[in-house]
């Protein structure tokens, strides 16, 4: 018998080499950005960045736990909490895509050298961003390109991040020099701004101050005059924007999957699942500061009429996150709104905070932020005043929990919010149990 008989070619799935497809470095880098549109950012990320903090509550119906959002809200999360696991995996997978894209781009032949350089810069920025999110959440973490099990000390991780960001800064163009079709990509300013924030976490005040100054001095950015408009689709990638996660709500739908829906008002007249609702604690903080502008831009109140004319009826929860409201795509799976990751106001606040430590002028940058929302200037701001400003300015923008831990305010803030913060444990999230099942030699964080 003829053994050629056994030569059967597959006709189910097209082998890559048979597909006629050419995958360019640009597509591989787009694939790194693409992970931002995963569901993790619409749900798990809310849990680990805001619901866990004093800014917001789980929301939704009492019986709807959102997986582990109730646990995060109560600060009773465990090594098995699915949101923590999801973000751990999400950030590492994004890092993996970035590294693969960098290698792929470097080894790709017959390709424009400038484009190559820019793409590698973008991927390095993205890799740095994900490592930054990892290190501030988990402390020492494995550097994926080095070893999957051995947890590198925070300082090494930060050094790695800074190295990537410096490469990115030298490779990336400034925001205004991108072609209109490329708006939304990482820019020199994105990398500089992130670097400033990274230095802030390292308490390298001078470097933080300088990096912030680079952004300010670039003349690429300014504060958007109307605070309430910052999270509207109309101001996307606007003057205040250093980096945003891009999304749109039209077919082919490609929003940040369900980000607006999970946080939309819940109830018969609502349009969403009602998670991540602003807390009483946050409301009180706005009121105590007399900060009506930012309060009303941040919180949707039951019964109010929104800026686009929508009347919020009888909803299950008294407050919702207005910064997640997608006017054109209310109730849709995918919203049309970008998530603001880094914006100019924060750069000013970073500079102000750094300035207080190195005897520079903190008042000027701080008061720019305050003036915009009609608050009186502070002549000689204290660090605490700047921290308070950060809370109100950046409320519901996924910064609060990490800021509380960075500044050592977490235990007190949690106590004030009626939760028990265990010192030496709750500063960091636990390494997910599923990771430890796969790599039992990896060391767990203290207290978990």
């Amino acid at each position: 018998c003829d053994e050629d008989y056994l030569e059967v070619d597959s006709r189910d799935d097209i082998e890559f080499e048979d597909s006629g497809e050419v995958v360019t470095p640009e597509e591989m880098v787009t694939g790194v950005y693409g992970r931002f549109t995963g569901f993790s950012y619409a749900f798990s990320y809310l849990g680990v960045s805001e619901i866990i903090s004093d800014n917001s509550d789980k929301g939704s119906s009492p019986g709807d736990t959102g997986g582990d959002k109730n646990l995060l809200d109560d600060l009773t999360h465990t090594t098995s909490s699915s949101s923590i696991r999801a973000m751990w995996e999400e950030w590492y997978k994004s890092i993996g895509r970035a590294t693969i894209a960098i290698d792929y781009t470097q080894n790709y032949e017959n390709y424009d050298a400038n484009l190559k350089s820019r793409l590698i810069g973008e991927a390095k920025f993205l890799r740095a961003l994900h490592y930054f999110w990892l290190v501030r959440s988990f402390g020492d973490v494995p550097i994926q390109e080095v070893d999957l099990v051995e947890r590198a000390p925070e300082s090494e991780v930060y050094a790695y991040i800074i190295n990537d960001l410096q490469d990115a800064i030298s490779a990336l163009p400034v925001k205004s020099s991108y072609a209109p079709k490329d708006v939304g990509r990482a820019t020199k300013g994105s990398a500089q701004g992130l670097l400033a924030k990274v230095y802030l976490y390292q308490e390298n005040w001078q470097a933080a101050y300088d990096a912030a100054n680079e952004v300010i001095a670039s003349n690429q950015y300014d504060l958007h005059p109307n605070y309430a408009e910052i999270w509207r689709a109309s101001t996307e990638n606007g003057m205040e924007s250093l980096f945003e996660i891009q999304g749109r709500g039209e077919t082919i739908n490609h929003g940040i999957q369900q980000y607006s829906q999970t946080q939309g008002a819940r109830g018969s007249t609502g349009w969403g699942w009602g998670f991540n609702t602003p807390s009483e604690n946050l409301l009180n903080a706005f009121d105590a500061a007399g900060d009506d502008v930012r309060r009303d831009a941040t919180i949707i109140f039951r019964g109010e009429t929104l800026w686009d004319g929508r009347v919020v009826g009888e909803t299950e929860n008294p407050m919702y996150n207005e910064k997640a409201y997608s006017s054109l795509n209310v109730g849709d799976g995918d919203g049309d709104k970008n998530i603001r990751v880094l914006r100019y106001a924060e750069i000013l606040l970073i500079q102000a905070e750094a300035a207080t430590h190195i005897n520079q002028d903190a008042a000027t940058p701080l008061n720019l932020v305050r003036e915009r929302v009609g608050l009186a200037p502070i002549a000689a701001p204290t660090v605490q005043q700047i921290w308070n400003e950060r809370r109100l300015e950046l409320a519901m923008e996924h910064d609060r929990w990490f800021d509380l831990n960075r500044t050592g305010q977490a235990a007190a803030a949690m106590a004030a919010d009626g939760k028990t913060f265990v010192n030496g444990k709750h500063e960091l999230f636990p390494i997910p149990n599923d990771q430890l099942i796969q790599t039992p030699e990896m060391v767990q964080n203290p207290g978990w």
Binding site: C1, E3, Y5, L6, E7, V8, S10, R11, D12, D13, E15, F16, E21, V23, M28, T30, V32, Y33, G34, T37, S61, P62, G63, D64, T65, D68, N70, T76, T78, T79, S80, W88, E89, Y92, G96, R97, P142, Q144, K181, D182, V183, G184, R185, E236, N237, Q246, G247, I252, H254, S268, E314, E316, D334, P432, N433, D434, Q435, I437, Q438, T439
Partner: protein
Amino acid sequence: QESTVTGTVTNAEDNMPVPGVNVLIKGTTRGTSTDFDGKYSITAKSDEILEFSYVGFKKQSFTVGSQTVVNVTLQNDIESLSEIVVIGYGTQKRSEVTGAISSIKSEELLKQPALNATQSIQGKLSGVNIVNSDAPGAVPKVVIRGVGTASAGEQVLYIVDGIQVTGITNINPADIETMDVLKDASSTAIYGMDAANGVVIITTKKGKKGQTKIELSSFYGAKTILNQVRMADANQYVTYFNENQTAIGGDNSYQLAPASQQPANTDWYDALIDVGFSNSNNVALSGAGDMSSYYFSFNNYNEDGILKDQDLSRNTLRLNNTFNFFDNKLKITSSISGAFTKSTPKPFGAFNEAYRQAPIVPVFYPDGHFGTNDVNRTTGVQGFLAGLGETIGGLNSVGNPVANVFFSNNKNKATDLQGIIEAELKITDFLKFTSRVGMTKAYGRERVFNDIRGRYVVAGDPVSDTDQQFQNLQDANPNNTQYANNSLRYTMTENFSYNWDNFLSFDKTFNEKHTIGALAGITKGKRDDFYFAETTAYGVPSQEQYWSIEFANGNYDNVSTQRFSTYTTQLSYFGRLQYNYDGKYLAQVNIRRDGVSTFKDNAEYFGNFPSFSLGWVLTEENFLKDVNGLDFLKLRGGWGEVGNSRVPFNQFRFNTNSGSNNVNYVFGVNQDFVLGASLGAQVFPISWEVTEETNIGLEFRMLDSRLAGSVDLYDRRTNDAILQVRPVLNSPNDANFFDSGADITNKGVEVELNWRDDINDNLSYNIGVVYSYNKNNVENVKPAYDGQIGGSLNNGQITKRLQDGQPLYAWWMYEAEGVWQNQAEIDNNPRVGSPKPGHLRYKDQNDDGVIDDRDKKFFGSYLPTYNLGLTLGLNYKNIDFSVDAFGAGGNKIYNGLKGTRIDGGENITADVFNERWTGEGSTNVNPGANRDAIASSYYLEDGDYLRINNMTLGYTLKNVIPDISRIRLYLTVQNPFLFTNYSGFTPELVGNEDGAPEERAGIELSAYPNTKTFLFGVNIEL
């Protein structure tokens, strides 16, 4: 006193004379045999005993006494020593078999009428676990000696008249002569790479010599649900609902009005379930002459499901012929069959909805609209009407099951054609050549009609979803298929497979004692040549005769798709050597060399599968030959390796996707959609799985063959079983991949015992016991490959995990240890989240004060560790009576219907209501009306059950009506009793995805309930 005794020997089954029966005077060498008409004549003394014996029949003895005429009716000896067993490319005498093979004959199969013969053998064969669903047309899950694979194919290999097929639903059970199940690797290795899950060999009936036989058989049956779970009534529901709402508290909780003010007290199962009728009519005509034999049959089988309008009907035709040529040197055999099946399936999800929908919801509102889950939250009365300032909400998110069944409009048709032609040439009297070709072609057609407008208007929101509103939406969205009047989908499939076997068989006895058998052959085949085409169209006229794509509304685009599968070709060489010394020492060696196209990228894509087995018939030895009461004793053992070629593959590729996928992104001021890419799964070279098995068995017959039985011990190990692996969480790769990564072992014991005795000529009885025990374990898991989870409850909770040292996908969850009685108890103990009093409390297994996944515990397997079959038969004159029972257990099963509540407005069972926690001290076992949705051992129950699966009473009339040789009338009850402590509908839970271990096997979420069936039947032989 010597006299001449004469008589006729007939066959009890067909009343035909039996020629060649040995008639011997006991203790002497004097004897004779019957002539062609079954007649004999012998001279004997009055105190002598006549013994009548014939191969395949039970030996019978009579004292001569004063009789001069002794007519004898021979009874078939079902487990006769000379019984022939089909062993793959040949046959063997039962007494000479050295492997573990269980067999079942036609008459046993037919006792349990069913669409698919595997349904009838449940509990009849040791080591064969059959998990059945009573849904019409459902294919039972057959597991032989445990599950030995995690991600590869689990189907047993079916061989019909020598040809490999993928299933036997197309075969009329009445056409089956025998089913032989090859269980151990020494028997199955002759089928090499396809045999790892065991082999079921089916031989269909052939005509027998004698006069033409016409058999007519019919039965009529009615079935209902066997194990009805009683649900809470309106009163109980309202109480339970309100208790839950009180516990939730807060702004949005509300209370229902008392049941007396509610519009309905619906028993959804009553509303949903009909009595299902079934009937079957079978005609078979057979016979044989010197040169040829024939067997024709026609069967019409109809079965209703217990859901309204759910039904299935099948017509089968068969023509089996043999022709002898050239002095019987050449024999041509053909088996041709066709099966034509038509069915109207209904959604099983309706059972789930019937369980969950509130009893205060009416099936229909007074205006004919289907009842909905609406409730007026202000008045607490079910319904959709609200006065000024009142609000309407949903009690739950459950649909109306009656509407769901009503609007499901599917029709399926299947045609299966099978043809086998075999030529057997006797080259010499000890050498023959066989060539056999078999082909199977299957066509499937499915029609799905969805009355979108009807659903909207009659089952949607009674207030807003009016016909006018639908029209408005349709006018506003003329091209949106969501607002088309209806959708119509046709799916067509075709599947083809064939096999071509050529082999030489040698069989010769030397010096009267040394018998050598040998086999050498080659086979090639093709399978899974699958074609699929589907078209969906919208807006056809509502009358059924126009349900054709060509009449679709032009406003909508038709959607079509079509694809081919990659077929598999196979080229294999096989050989067997058998040696038999005087029926005393037996030996057998098999070898198969398989090449399968699936592995063409694998440099060594040929696999070799060897096996051997030995047997020793101890009763042929002098020291045991004359032991009183011991008729036969054989020790046998074997070893072999078999493969599983149905393994999944990795494919190297870049992930690209033109839709909403996380490789794509948007850039630019206009937020243009930009396509991206990422790297796909890691690629590991994958080969077939190899299962190695050792088997030791003992067979015996004693006390004049009244007691017969066998015991088998086996140890089987699948080396390098393929797992679907999730990449390490912090690794760069994000797609799951396949790699061989664990060993799976199955060790067990099988026992078969049969006792049959004739008390006198009129009364005989038999008792049979079949028992098997199997222990499954996963071992040697590669590092980082452990921990795959499974058993999703579809609410974010999972229940199974793969772990070294545990059974395959063992249960894994929190251990419930009571109920929180008060807040102080909660505050002072480790807990999950923020429970309320009345919630279940879970055990902190590692005592670290925190309850997380590390406190989840393994609770064994969903797979039964033991199977038990019992048979009792009684014959008194013309009356026959039998009871069969089947049991399984040693496993745990998960009552997911009870455990997964989403929004607290779902109904509960009456038991859940009655046992619930109602306040401190009320119970420390069952949670209150307000409970969490966490998977825990509370919902895990013993899977043990014993089911009486058949009780039959029959009456046979012989020769009472001219020209009708035999009429048997019978009454059968299938599944009259189920004994189990399980609180759900059925402990037999196949699960989804063909019972894949990591899926919902062993979890009751929407299972089809067991049914009991009453049958009346008649068999007529002419």
